[in-house]
Symmetry: C2
Subunit: 348 residues, 2 copies
């Protein structure tokens, strides 16, 4: 069981792209399965190994992931799995499974492919900012290539067949990771989240299903895959996201008018604590980074680079800290190193 | 009713003198009354006015307070009274009274004299650091001078006669303002304070009797004035203070050994908040300044000047802020100006 090399800075954290102050990233994934093999949860290790090799072989001939890093997840350490999880490259589901499964990581981590997660293939595209269409185009082009060399399970009636019926149809899940501090501060967030759910979208925490909301970051995604086209799905997500962005901006304006001083105080104190702390938890980092990011978004903290804030967010996560240190660290050591890292990054 | 001019920086806040990191200041006051007049609470306005003039006349011929600023407290604004209170130049008792009463303020505020407070005369001496003896010598020399030109009420049996029997005898109250964060953090403070009370000393808050303990600053003073000499009183206070200083130093060492990182974190965060806040209350300033001062005392924050911390403590108090601004400020404005002032001072 070898140690994975530390990855570079992911392109989807570059802080670029439209509305990138509010929308951290946009993500699209496609669920696909191969004809001639049982679904992954029914397949035996031999079959899983065959699927793994077939897919690996197919992508080795294609643009996009040809030079990708192939990781057999069952051969990684628990720390590496957590590391990949923190980078949104694998799902908690894949991290907890054994057997011949894995992930292929494209350049800059914009394109990724999980093999033998819930479905044989989970193609993922991620972009910085509000770019669901670009993310879709990226996964779609890989999907086209794969479909040309692999026989993908598809029914004229149902569309793409998937291990779980909730994905059948397009197999598409599109999501945005969105930062909504003003809606939280003005206590409008519950109403907004209720509205999102009512139009058939789902709201989750930063790391997807079953994860907690931290630092006012919400992941919004479609729930329906059956009976509507990919275009419809993306349009609907984009339309709702645009509305939420507008809500967040109005809430920011109201806050700045009614409580500018208190907002400034919150923002600058957060920056003061981050740049001076000697011990800090990931939770507190996310919560303070949220305040600093908000300050940047509304023009209170001009000098701070969004990309740097994104880096702080990911590099201070527990597995990232340990990969960075090159050794396992207990919680006390992590809280110490995290503080050191945050100070170092913010001093830039 | 004219406005008092803003006073300069008091010498007792210079941060100099022995143990000045732990002992902010040492203070001695003498209660004296004049023969031939009723005690202040029994005197009518004419008698009070006579006392005021007699005393004023006496000091105008003496070293020490000759060039002192004479303030008729009944002719000051409520803001000025609070201002004098915050500087420890008058007592809450004097601030709340009307009629011909006042205070004479010597150069650097080391020497002061309240007229017609509870007693006709309250001579006060204050020094930076652990200097009860010096403070005593200062008031004693003024007392000698006054006794030469005024007839002071004294009984061979009882000593100096005072309006309240708790001051009869020496009329002396000696106190130190001491900073005990390590004893508070290690939860030994109650035990220590109990010990202080058991040996006959009193513990009070920063502004004396009936005031709250803030920022881990305690005022320790003698309670007994009858049946022991001035020397005994000062020796006893000095001996106990020395023991408390030693306790505080041991507690600091224990803390640094057992929880250095947590202490550093507390100290640096306090500094980070003070140097970044946009709104702050006096209470929070005192509590954070306490942490920063502790960091300075134990060598974590080398670069910070104790005198500067003392300045922050006094200049951010409500009346000081308003005197500084040259206008009355409501609480919201004070919290804003206070934050601005703290940032400005700490940037030095």
């Amino acid at each position: 069981m070898g140690e994975m090399k530390t990855l570079g800075e992911p392109a989807w954290l570059s802080g670029e792209g439209p509305e990138s102050q509010i929308v951290l990233s946009s993500r699209v994934r496609l669920a696909r399965n191969l004809v001639g093999y049982p679904f992954a949860h029914k397949a035996n290790p031999d079959e899983l190994a065959q699927i793994f090799e077939v897919v690996r072989d197919a992508i080795s001939k294609m643009d996009g992931l040809r030079k990708g890093q192939v990781v057999r997840i069952d051969r990684t350490t628990p720390l590496d799995r957590q590391y990949l999880l923190e980078r949104h490259l694998i799902s908690p589901d894949l991290a907890n499974k054994n057997g011949p499964r894995g992930v292929v990581i494209g350049e800059g981590e914009s394109l990724g492919l999980m093999i033998n997660e819930e479905d044989h293939l989970r193609i993922q595209g991620m972009f910085s900012g509000f770019e669901p269409m670009k993310a879709w185009q990226l996964v779609n082009s890989l999907d086209d290539g794969l479909s040309a060399s692999l026989e993908v399970a598809f029914s004229e009636n149902w569309g793409y067949l998937t291990a779980c019926p909730t994905n059948t149809g397009t197999g598409l899940r599109a999501s945005v990771l969105i930062h909504l501090p003003a809606l939280v501060l003005t206590k409008q967030i519950s109403k907004v989240l209720r509205g999102i759910t009512q139009v058939g979208l789902a709201v989750r925490g930063m790391f997807g299903e079953g994860t907690e909301v931290m630092g006012n970051f919400f992941q919004i995604s479609n729930q329906t895959t059956l009976g509507l086209s990919e275009r419809d799905t993306l349009d609907s997500l984009s339309r709702v996201t645009r509305q939420i962005i507008d809500h967040e901006k109005s809430a920011s304006e109201v806050l700045l008018k009614s409580a500018r001083l208190q907002v400034e105080d919150k923002v600058f104190r957060a920056f003061g604590i981050l740049s001076h702390c000697r011990v800090i938890s990931s939770h507190e980092v996310l919560s303070l980074i949220s305040a600093v990011r908000f300050g940047r978004t509304i023009g209170i903290l001009e000098g701070v680079d969004i990309r740097l804030l994104n880096r702080v967010m990911i590099e201070t996560l527990p597995a990232h800290l340990q990969k960075g240190a090159g050794e396992p660290l207990d919680q006390v050591e992590r809280d110490y190193r995290r503080a050191e890292l945050v100070r170092g990054l913010l001093a830039k």
